[in-house]
Amino acid sequence: MARKISMKQAINEALDLEMTRDPSVVVMGEDIVGGTGSPGEDDAWGGVLGVTKGLYAKHGDRLMDTPLSESAYVGAAIGAATCGLRPVAELMFIDFMGVCFDQIFNQAAKFRYMFGGKAETPVVIRAMVGAGFRAAAQHSQMLTPVFTHIPGVKVVCPSNAYDAKGLLIQSIRDNDPVIFCEHKNLYGLECDVPAESYAIPFGEANVLRDGGDVTIVSYGLTVHRAMEAAEALARDRVEAEVVDLRTLSPIDWDTIIDSVERTGRLVVVDEAHPRCSIASDVAAFVGQNAFGALKAGVQMVTAPHVPVPFSPVLEDLYIPNAPSIAEAARRTLSPTGTSPRSIAA
């Protein structure tokens, strides 16, 4: 039965359903129970933003608060994954990967290859991504490209509650390490979500809007900005096809190429910095594999090559917005199809 729930509730529900289904699923992280050992309530927080609230009451010790010690507990989750558990470790903010990155990219990502295909590491590392939370440079980054670069891990970034639930369930059931990126500014967004369990396969982009004039590819929060831009373009009789990548590794090249072959124009929207980003990756792939179909240069709409600023006026400028996406789409429709050199370069 479908009902409207928020992305935060959808993630909670996915964890709950998988913990119920599979006793090898354990969940750990800083404050994910909240208050362990403190004099007040047992599960005071349920995660710093309440995403895991209520799970401790149902699943008890399979939810584990950790010391502030990302290397140790992320590494423990990875080690436990090679020993038959299916741990979900919450890295709170993805910015904190700096203190535990070795465990992710040198350990989890490499075990299978390094050990000749003899290891499975079914670990999920959940982390909040993205700007717009007035949380400044060390709590707001979109570091998806960093993980996407690394063979051996999968990277997921849902744009809505339905996808978040199905992709998280797939992440937990998946036998490879998964970095599950949750945009904190989408937590409150509601949509229809079935109460039952379901898994969305990786590598299947979602086409949110059909259109024959220009393809807009994005993921996460900026999917919604892209949809706003598409509505604005439609008022001018420009029909944009909007592709939500859902997973960045693996990525659904076929859907991107199919769409570009029909529209001949591509705008890639990425909340990450421009260099070596998902945007530049998609642009390069299309340039190499569908050059003949392109009627204009590929446009990238990204955050600038600066850290995430604090002051709201600056942060709002930082995040790609609908007018800039629509403007990029119009550039692909202009006779020259080129853009002025941007601060991106």
């Binding site: 039965m1 039952e196 299947e204 059909d210 859907t255």
Partner: protein, 373 residues
């Protein structure tokens, strides 16, 4: 403002969840003379594109909705009037037109779109529309759900009490299929009728649902007032096994869309949203197992296990058989399997989902057969 000679044409509401529609094109020009049943325009919903037929006659005096634009359900999109109605009156009608309110809101409050009931076969979802008149029960096919009756349920509900359910393993009903045979599905159907309190009903079955309806007419004849079999299974051994296997195997939009296209004479009717809705169903835990169990029990090796037309012919229930002439799932030749024991109608330019693709014609046949006034 009331003017009996001026008639609004509004954005239709098809099915239970439609809230808006996009005009894809007008099939009649302003000034055309319109007869009841004429194709007026095409509307695309998030489910499917369909033709809007004229419900009343007149001259098409105003076309207000532009192709490419989206309008809410019940929005005024065109005006019919007799030729001698002055232009000023037509303009005044348009200017003063107010979208009817109240009844729709109250109806939405009083009757939720979907209901759920606990039956011996598990939790089943259903919809109930209309009140009074004959009781009709709509039974979808393999992999389908009650939304397959998108264009049927409200049309019949104008003069009947109409139920549509999701069979076990389907839609939003329980995904456990305790007994995946026709007898098992029929037992689940009767359990549903018992739980909801549905007396003898006119069963309208599509595809596998037709075979389930036939099985029910044989196993519990007192529960079945008549049979309407639409592109029905159970009337011969042949079935497109590649479709069944492809439907089960598809995990993504790109695999599934071509499979769904075989359901229609016009593959263009398979929208992105229709594909996505089927995918959302197929992703649910338990669906894959249910579909595989049903396929193994009903279509093993590519032949229908339950061929019932001999017994059904003998049972003597009033029976209507409707088929799409371009059905690529079950051959239209099966339409005449019941011989003189049924009325058989084959609609040329429609495929397996004939009740969607030729909704107006199918609805008219159903109304006539069931006696919906």
């Amino acid at each position: 403002m009331q003017n009996e000679r001026i008639k609004p044409i509004v954005m239709p509401k098809w099915g239970l969840s439609m809230s808006e529609g996009k005009i894809t094109g007008w099939l009649k020009q302003p000034g055309s003379t319109i007869a009841v049943g004429d194709d007026l325009l095409e509307v695309e919903t998030d489910k499917i594109t369909n033709v809007v037929e004229a419900g009343e006659a007149g001259t098409l005096r105003r076309v207000l909705a532009e192709p490419g634009n989206v309008y809410p359900v019940k929005a005024l999109i065109a005006v019919l009037a007799d030729p001698d109605v002055p232009e000023t009156e037509v303009d005044a009608f348009v200017a003063g037109y107010a979208v009817p309110k109240g009844d729709d809101g109250a109806e939405a409050e009083a009757a939720p779109r979907y209901l759920f009931t606990e039956t011996p076969a598990g939790t089943l979802r259903y919809a109930k529309r209309g009140d009074g008149g004959p009781t009709v029960l709509l039974v979808h096919g393999f992999g389908g759900d009650l939304d397959n009756w998108l264009f049927t349920i409200d049309a019949l509900a104008e003069g009947a009490t109409v139920y549509a359910l999701d069979l076990p393993g389907h839609g939003q009903s329980t995904k456990a299929v305790a007994d995946p045979t026709l007898a098992g599905l029929s037992a689940a159907l009767r359990g549903f009728m018992d739980t909801v309190g549905i007396g003898p009903a006119h069963l309208v079955g599509h595809s596998m649902g037709g075979a389930v309806s036939m099985r029910t007419a044989l196993d519990a004849p007192d529960r079945v007032a008549s049979l309407s079999l639409i592109a029905s299974a159970g009337l011969g051994p042949e079935i497109n096994h590649a479709y069944i296997q492809g439907f089960i195997a598809a995990t993504g939009r790109r695999d599934l869309k071509p499979v769904l296209e075989t359901l229609f004479a016009d593959p263009g009717l398979v929208s992105r949203q229709m594909t996505e809705d089927v995918l959302k169903y197929k992703r649910l835990d338990g669906v894959d197992g249910a579909l595989r169990a049903l396929s193994a029990a009903l279509f093993d090796g590519g032949a229908q296990a339950g061929v019932l037309h001999g017994a059904v012919a003998a049972a003597g229930k009033p029976t209507l058989v409707v088929w799409g002439g371009q059905d690529r799932i079950i051959p239209a030749a099966h339409a005449t399997a019941l011989g003189s024991n049924a009325r058989a109608e084959v609609i040329p330019n429609a495929g397996h989902m004939v009740q969607m693709e030729a909704a107006g014609t199918v609805n008219a046949l159903l109304k006539e057969h069931i006696g919906v006034r």
